[in-house]
Symmetry: C2
Subunit: 390 residues, 2 copies
């Protein structure tokens, strides 16, 4: 029996490009060096591991971690996230401006349902995180592609011609997935001002917030929203990338409390609440001493920067990503990119095709440099170098 | 600054009735006997606790539980759930007909986004689980209330007059939250046949599947879907109630694979994947020996039946719930119900107002008999008896 068509919006969703590749990658098994998804070889902070050990040895005689918790998130975690937002992002929101979510994905899904009516348009800076398109389209919204680099250089020139009566939101990732592009202070201010002038909301996806290389400046656009007459920024974060905790599924969204009321109601209807146990580990990561916290993130950045540089030796002509976890490599055309991806896969290196990242980049491949340890990444580089471009 | 109105659908969402009561309940602190939410005093199966201990003592040196897992759910868990569905529910679906979700809530949220276009109607059997209304309305769907008891007695008489061109789904919980009503074989067949004749889909919410009292027959309507020309049942389950694991947030939805393709794509866009660690605990609950598994559930039913009977002594004129975790108690009118709720709360017993459960039951209160141990429930009964009906 063929698949049944249910709602029109669900019909629009394409299966994840990763799930298409999965069977081929599975066949390779251990032989595959998986650079197609964003993952890490690094462990979470010791404080998070210790929290899990403490729960397992001391807390299993009670129902403490097996009951529902508050749908908005644990009060103590909201407090610590609020402090972290000031410290790391310059974003001033109280705990009432925060919702804990099932990863950054559910945070963005909650934003889509909170903000969009069918027909509303979201300008997405491209190349973009693969799932954002489906998240917007599932609620009947329309994605309008805009080039990232050109937009942050001159928002007016690029975005003005794209505005319609239904344009409601500008979405971008900072640092960006797949190319690691990020906003400095000037760029953030310029984009914020344009959005304020045209009454646009902003969804700032900062999943890779702490992974910034070469000592660059990266500014959270939400920091410009404090004290605004009409707050317009919802900032999305996660413990997945900064703390190697993708498997815990803890993310959050921060915005002025006047925006959060609606976001919170939607989130409650999406997942009710998040696991108290996984929130405990996230809390432990934030409650490290300032020294431990900083040391963990600094060491991670150093390691990832080395990994980026190593992978870059396979693509000396491509740009070195200023942040994030990927190289986004250009080919002459879609066919060459696709065939190269297949040739690498045959030799045991997986990558992700550019079309997953928006319509403007079919002639690209994305490779993750944080997914496997240095020695494996070295093997991957050798394999890539041994394969002539198709 | 007042709350900002974002999308029309989000605007429709009322804050959870529980979150309205929360501040008052918080004030009471430890003195409150919380019967207003569905929770449990029981621990998860020892096998699940042991799984957590094993991970904490053996697995923290690797990234095993900290990486992403498959968006559909771990393969081994899908396998075990498939076996459980045959064994406990008579539902024959392969692993490709299952999606693991963040509790039953996200399962129903995924169904709403998969099935409904704006304007589509969902018939909801009342009284109903509070969140279903918002879940349907958030995607622009319309909830049509139908009385549960009368509908399962004679679906044609009750539902036919409610059908429009846009009627797409019938939703009900079996056993029901808040009144524990459930479907026997005859009732399930009658309702299934009606839905098949009128080409309606069915969402069967079986969060309380194992909590059935007095040796009654409870039939999963999904068991009638096997081999149908047009499969039409999506069945929703969770580990929260059967295994005391609400804090793990593991649920799942089962349907014919032809329906599942769309549901899976939507779920991936809602949360990406679920925590591997919490899935490990769910898996352990299913992989108990058959004897352990049955003993855990039987003891739980015995305990909860005793608790139901105890709480019922405070309301000798009300119906004894045939399943589930609640008594749903009728008052003369909405005002009497509301004032009684407040009078109980003042003395330290919280309950939930009937209006949370659909428009047809404002003169009711719901009380959970599984939330606190027997001794505390006894105190609650004494308090309730000491308060004259307002």
């Amino acid at each position: 029996m063929s698949a049944q068509v249910l709602s029109r919006s669900a019909q629009k969703l394409r299966p994840s490009v990763f799930s298409e590749l999965t069977p081929r990658i599975k066949e390779l098994g251990e032989r595959c060096i998986p650079l197609h998804i964003g993952d890490t070889y690094r462990l979470p902070p010791q404080a998070a591991l210790s929290a899990l050990q403490r729960v397992a040895s001391e807390e299993l005689g009670t129902t403490r971690y097996f009951r529902y918790t508050h749908p908005f998130g644990r009060a103590e975690l909201l407090e610590e996230v609020s402090k972290k937002l000031v410290r790391d992002n310059g974003i001033a929101v109280p705990p009432s401006g925060i919702q804990i979510t099932c990863g950054a994905t559910q945070a963005l899904c909650a934003l889509a349902q909170s903000y969009l009516d069918p027909g509303d348009e979201v300008i997405v800076l491209c190349p973009h995180w693969p799932l954002i398109r489906g998240i917007v389209e599932t609620v009947g919204g329309k994605v309008v592609d805009a080039p990232y680099k050109e937009t942050i250089e001159d928002p007016g020139a690029v975005l003005k011609p794209l505005l319609t009566e239904r344009t409601k939101v500008v979405y971008f990732a900072n640092p960006n997935n797949p190319d690691g592009r990020l906003l400095n202070g000037t760029e953030a201010e310029r984009l914020y001002r344009f959005c304020a002038e045209h009454d646009l909301h902003i969804w700032s996806d900062e999943a890779y917030e702490h992974i910034v290389f070469d000592g660059r400046e990266k500014v959270s656009i939400g920091s410009l929203d404090s004290g605004a007459d009409s707050p317009r920024v919802a900032s999305v974060f996660t413990f997945s990338k900064s703390f190697g905790m993708a498997g815990m599924r803890v993310g959050y969204v921060a915005a002025h409390p006047s925006l959060m009321e609606s976001i919170r109601k939607v989130s409650t209807h999406q997942i009710y609440d998040l696991s108290d146990l996984t929130q405990e580990l996230a809390l432990a990561a934030l409650k490290q001493t300032p020294d431990q916290y900083q040391a963990f993130l600094s060491e991670q950045t150093r390691e990832y920067e080395k990994a980026r540089d190593l992978l870059h030796t396979a693509f000396p002509d491509s740009e070195k990503s200023p942040g994030g976890a990927y190289l986004f490599v250009e080919f002459e055309n879609r066919e060459q990119a696709w065939n190269t991806m297949l040739a690498w896969l045959e030799k045991g290196v997986s990558s992700a095709p550019g079309e997953a990242f928006g319509g403007l980049h079919p002639n690209y491949l994305r490779l993750c440099f944080t997914a496997v340890p240095f020695s494996r990444l070295k093997e991957a580089v050798e394999i890539i170098r041994s394969v002539p471009r198709a």
